[in-house]
Every structure is written in structure tokens, then in C-alpha cells.
Amino acid sequence: MIEVKDLHKSFAEQDVLKGIDFVFENGKTNLIIGQSGSGKSVLLKSMLGIFTPEKGIIEYDGKAYSDFSPEQKRELRKDIGMLFQGGALFDSMTVEENVMFPLRMFKKGRKKNHLDRVHEVLERVNLGTESRNKYPAEISGGMQKRVAIARAIVNKPRYLFCDEPNSGLDPKTATIIDNLIHELTVEYDITTVVITHDMNSVLEIGENIAFLKEGVLAWKGDKSQIFKTDDETVTDFVYSSDLFKKVRQAQLQGL
């Protein structure tokens, strides 16, 4: 579980986060949604320790991140898996080497054991043997995302962060990736935090949603509640696409 309390962050006197309070629950896919510039990425990077907040507390399983020693912070990072927007796979390494990277860096043991674990997670994300020795540039965007997920979970993390995991993917692949993230969250019993502005993701995996607007937590709930709320700030965002607008009109007409 990750809890943020009264989190403030600003850049060059511009307040980006203005007192966020939220609990990211264990075993659930926690979504941070909101328009571009609402502070989603800044919140995520503050939770990861990339940005230092001016005020507020970030607690990992009840322990404040700001109280961690440098050694404890390093240890915590080994428990974190991160899926970047573009995958952030290492171009110079094959799929297998990319997934093995965290094991080589932080785990002791024989290469064969590492390889067994790599093959296990690659199979778990449904990547066949034919792609193992390919370079990231030689595989599709969807496969790159799968490799990135495999790399994020290979070290059995306790926390998984995903920055717009289905950006640049077709709707079908995006759904597959969303479902995969959700399945892994339940299977590994981890705290997963996903940044997205894709309403399909909200529908698929939104178990615990934080809606940010201009650096403020404007709404929180789950996927069943978000389509029922009358909160205008949320409905403006949720029904911004034509498809969801039609759904909303149908809802209002009682169809």
C-alpha cells in the first residue's frame, strides 16, 4: 500500500500538486486519471522519488519515504517495477537481456537460474521463444510493452508503476496490456499505480481511481462509480469523447 498525504510540489513558483491525499491499495490497479497538465506524471515521479515534494508525506507500507536512509531508498527501488510510456527498453540489448537486466544488477546466483526466471516471465506475458533474441527495434509496439512489463516484474516487485501503458497501441492490444497489468497485480498481490487518460482503461481495470484536476484531487472512486457521478469536473473529462458523450446522453434519457 502507498499513501500520499497533503502532497505539494511546485516548479518555478508554479504549483503543480496542491495537497494530494490518496491511498493506493494493495492488490488493486490504482489509476491516476486527468487531463494533460493535471499533475499525474508529477505525482508519479514524486512517489518514485525522482521529484522531492515541498510538503507532504509519501508512505510505503506505513513508512515515510522521506525518513528512509539512502540505503533504504536503494532497497526500496529494488521492490519497484516501472513500465514507462515508451517502454524504455535498452536498444543495445535483446529482449532476453532486457528482462534479465534487473536480475544481473541486483540478484546473486547463476546465469542459468536467471535465464529460467526470464523465460518464466516472458511466457507469463505471452511472448514466444522466437522473440527472445530480437532487439527492441525488431518487435512491435505491443510486444515492446510486454517485454517492458516482463522486465518490471522479473524481480518480483511489491509496487508496479505504469506511465500510460497503452499509449501508441491499437485498442485491442491496449485492452490486452490493461488486462495483463490487472492479472499480474492480483497474481503477485502488488500495489499497482497506473497513469492514464484512456477511458477504456478506466472501464477495464479502474478499481481505485484518483481524478486529478489542476493539481487537486477532484474525485476518487472506482469504475462503477465514475460513470454515475454527477460531479461536473469528472463528467467533463469522462464524456469528452464522442462515444462516451453518446453513452452519457443515453444514460440521461434513461435508455
Binding site: K78, D91, M105
Partner: protein, 245 residues
């Protein structure tokens, strides 16, 4: 002010490079990979340039020596001095700023743009050490490249002067040995070592701290080449002033 900021950032980067070290087995592999890419991969162009520039230096000297009172062996002497003192250490380093420097900037810059450096940091890897330290260690072998360049430069000068019919092999060897000062070799390799450190770190700085997208990677490579060359030229002047004047 921005120059001061850059110098400060560069110093902080160097401190970070020697901070928390990457696992030894991984580092060893990275160092060999960098030696292959930065050093072995540059030998061909260095050998080609050195041989022909050495030849041109000898030709130019021979063609401009019209006074019968000046011994012909001066061709070899002039070639030796210009190749050992300046051409091999300094001008090959400037060429390397274009080849190796641009490669370092663009490879690290691409990693920055595609969030690969962020990925390293999030995993708890000291990205500065992981990316730049192996390059610094690999560049410690750079003086060997310069030694090869010196040898081939003088060989090129010999070929042009002797086979071009300007002077006999004995005259050339005699000229090569005239007034030889051993300290010049120390001077040449001392500054080569400094240039190697500049070649490894200045382009790395431009790649690591770049912002923007792929277009900026190209711009960073150009800026890196300009600044690496400027730093090499200024360092060359200071070292020459300190050691030889």
C-alpha cells in the same frame, strides 16, 4: 552564468560517475564493449589519416625546401616533430571528437530521450557510473591509438619522402634521429591522456543532460563536437605553455 552552471553541472556529473559503483561483472563486460566501440572501432580511420597526413607533411616540407644549404634530412625531422608533438595527439583527438564524441553524445542522448536513463535510475542503478565510467576506463587505452598514429604517420612520411625520391632512406633515418628529445614523448602522451578524459566526459555530459526529442540529439552531438574541440585546443595550449615554454 550559463557557462558557470554548465561547469558546475559537469563537476557534479564527474562526482556522480565515481559514486556508487555498478556490479563488477557487469562493469567488466561494459568496459570491453566500450573498448571495442570507441577504440578498436576507430583504429581504421586513425591509421588511414595518420599514414596519409604523415606523407603529406613530408611532401610539403620537401617541396618547400629550395635552399641547398638546408640538409634534406630536415624533411624527416620536421615530419617527426609535427607528427609527435601536434598531429597525432591533438589533431587526431579533434577528429575523434567528431567520431567518438558524437557517438557518445548521441547514444547517451537517445537513452535520455527514450527514458532509458530514467529506467536505470528507477531500478536503483547509478546511471552516471553505469554509462560513463566504462567509457572513461576504455579511453585510458587511447594513448595506444595515438602511439599507432605516430608510428603510421612517420611511416607515411618515410614512404612519401623516400619512395617519392626526395631523400635517401639513410637521410630520412638520420633526420628522424636528429636532436631527439625524450621529454617530447612524455609531453605528447601526457596531453593525450588529458584529451582522452575530455573525449570521454565532455560528450557524455552533453548527452546526459540534454533535453527534448530526437532533433535535440542531433543538436547536442554538434554542440558536443564544438565544445570538445574547444576544450582540447585550450587544454593543448595550456599544457604546451606549462611543459614546453
Amino acid at each position: 552564468m550559463s557557462y558557470l552552471h554548465s561547469i558546475g553541472e559537469y563537476i557534479i556529473m564527474i562526482k556522480g560517475v565515481f559514486g556508487r559503483m555498478t556490479k563488477r561483472s557487469v562493469l567488466k563486460e561494459l568496459i570491453f564493449k566500450e573498448i571495442d566501440e570507441l577504440i578498436i572501432g576507430s583504429l581504421g580511420i586513425v591509421a588511414f589519416l595518420s599514414f596519409f597526413i604523415g606523407g603529406v607533411v613530408a611532401l610539403q616540407t620537401a617541396l618547400n625546401l629550395n635552399n641547398p644549404l638546408i640538409p634534406k634530412s630536415l624533411v624527416a625531422y620536421a615530419a617527426r616533430q609535427s607528427i609527435i608533438l601536434e598531429f597525432s595527439p591533438t589533431f587526431i583527438s579533434i577528429i575523434m571528437a567528431g567520431k567518438v564524441g558524437s557517438f557518445i553524445t548521441s547514444s547517451i542522448g537517445s537513452m535520455r530521450v527514450t527514458e532509458q536513463i530514467d529506467a536505470l535510475e528507477v531500478m536503483g542503478v547509478n546511471s552516471l557510473n553505469y554509462l560513463i565510467f566504462p567509457k572513461i576506463v576504455a579511453m585510458l587505452t587511447y594513448p595506444f591509438v595515438i602511439a599507432i598514429s605516430m608510428f603510421l604517420g612517420i611511416t607515411g612520411a618515410y614512404a612519401a619522402a623516400v619512395f617519392g625520391g626526395f631523400l635517401s632512406p639513410e637521410d630520412f633515418i638520420g633526420g628522424l634521429q636528429d636532436d631527439f628529445i625524450g621529454f617530447h614523448i612524455f609531453y605528447a602522451f601526457f596531453k593525450t591522456f588529458l584529451f582522452a578524459m575530455i573525449l570521454a566526459t565532455v560528450p557524455a555530459y552533453h548527452g546526459y543532460y540534454m533535453t527534448g526529442g530526437s532533433l535535440e540529439v542531433g543538436k547536442a552531438s554538434t554542440t558536443s563536437f564544438v565544445w570538445t574541440s574547444v576544450v582540447i585546443i585550450v587544454t593543448n595550449y595550456i599544457v604546451t605553455q606549462l611543459l614546453l615554454s
